[in-house]
Symmetry: C2
Subunit: 253 residues, 2 copies
Amino acid sequence: MSHIELISVPGIPLITSGDDLPQVIGDALERSALILQENDVLVVTSKIVSKAEGRWIDLSSVVPDERALMVAGQCNKDPRLVSVILSESSGISRTGHDVLIVKHRLGFVCANAGVDHSNTRGEGEWLLLLPENPDTSASRIRDRLAGRFGVCIAVVISDSHGRPFRLGTVGVAIGSAGLPALWDLRGQPDLFGRRLQHTEVGFADELAAAAGLVSGQASEGMPVVIIRGISYPIDKQSTAADLNRPRDKDLYC
Amino acid sequence: MSHIELISVPGIPLITSGDDLPQVIGDALERSALILQENDVLVVTSKIVSKAEGRWIDLSSVVPDERALMVAGQCNKDPRLVSVILSESSGISRTGHDVLIVKHRLGFVCANAGVDHSNTRGEGEWLLLLPENPDTSASRIRDRLAGRFGVCIAVVISDSHGRPFRLGTVGVAIGSAGLPALWDLRGQPDLFGRRLQHTEVGFADELAAAAGLVSGQASEGMPVVIIRGISYPIDKQSTAADLNRPRDKDLYC
């Protein structure tokens, strides 16, 4: 674990609905002569996964219901946008001026249910939802690329989230496959041979944050990053859902 | 921003009170023939900064006061430990079973005020506090290494924090010098030439999280990581304190 590389995959085209993302990523890897290596982690931004899945909503088609109108009043947002956010959420965490923080149907807490309003799509106003099931998407990308290139890799689907207490967004994992998203190091000895007491590392989140340094929060130009040189145990059971803190262990819900 | 390297600096010895950390790191760099390059970011774990500063407290010397006894009762912790945690804090955020989350005197919110009980020091039970002023420590390391090697670098002092909503610790920046800890990308155009609306990136936190992949949360063996290949603006004003979310912008305080 002494030398890690973060390599952006060049030449990923703009993704549109129906694109076969594992194929597109694999083709870009081949064109760039980047050879996937055993244990590489591929971090893919959720945005291109969403676009491939066609997760667009035409804002003008949305008719907000009573609840959306009420919540929109609390947070000074477009009721149609609020309606879409609530449809992606299992509950509201906090509202504030221009702020709506929800528990996403996928289990994590984030602003606006991750609904992206910053880019539009052709004419009109379109919203982009998070992928339908990012853990499944990660698994599919992993299996397809492993099959195509004959190597065992892991995949993380990343998103940028704000946080309580701290300003600024950071990359977090909303999907993963092939690695321990939550890595339990408890019981491992420290330098002095004593057992560590409570070290569960948000491994997939650290990978997503690291990839954010390459892909940049601002850019759609580098949506796939290879992280190379990390030793980690292959884990076919773990998914990014493991990172969701259960309600009874959360003092801030 | 297409290729970033994370390189651990080998041969950092066990740090003890009074060690001149910039000297020790510089010597390790020379011994390993690692040449610092312009714009390298050095991520240093807070633990070795604390040790160099001798931030040890002998638990057996602590006499808890009334408040510490009361809080200790709320969270089922050793009242002496609680006394030390409170002495490093400006307020309590949450208490729970075996959990004490505070606002650290440095402004960030974290469990146990970052007081480390996992390693001991010789005989008896010792606690290690966070550095006195990690932003100042970062600045000092930056200036000394820049002077010694004749390159402009940035420095981040990292710690591992748990988080609301999400399980697992991740690296965060508690000190920084020479870079925009909070990087404001608002107003920059996206791929389509539209202005991004609200992208303030927790840049120093992403660097700390990335370095955590190399240094490992479990290890004291790799406490200094070089992050190479990132383009960022030199910023002599910004410090990690910029990442602390003001109370009036925090819905979870």
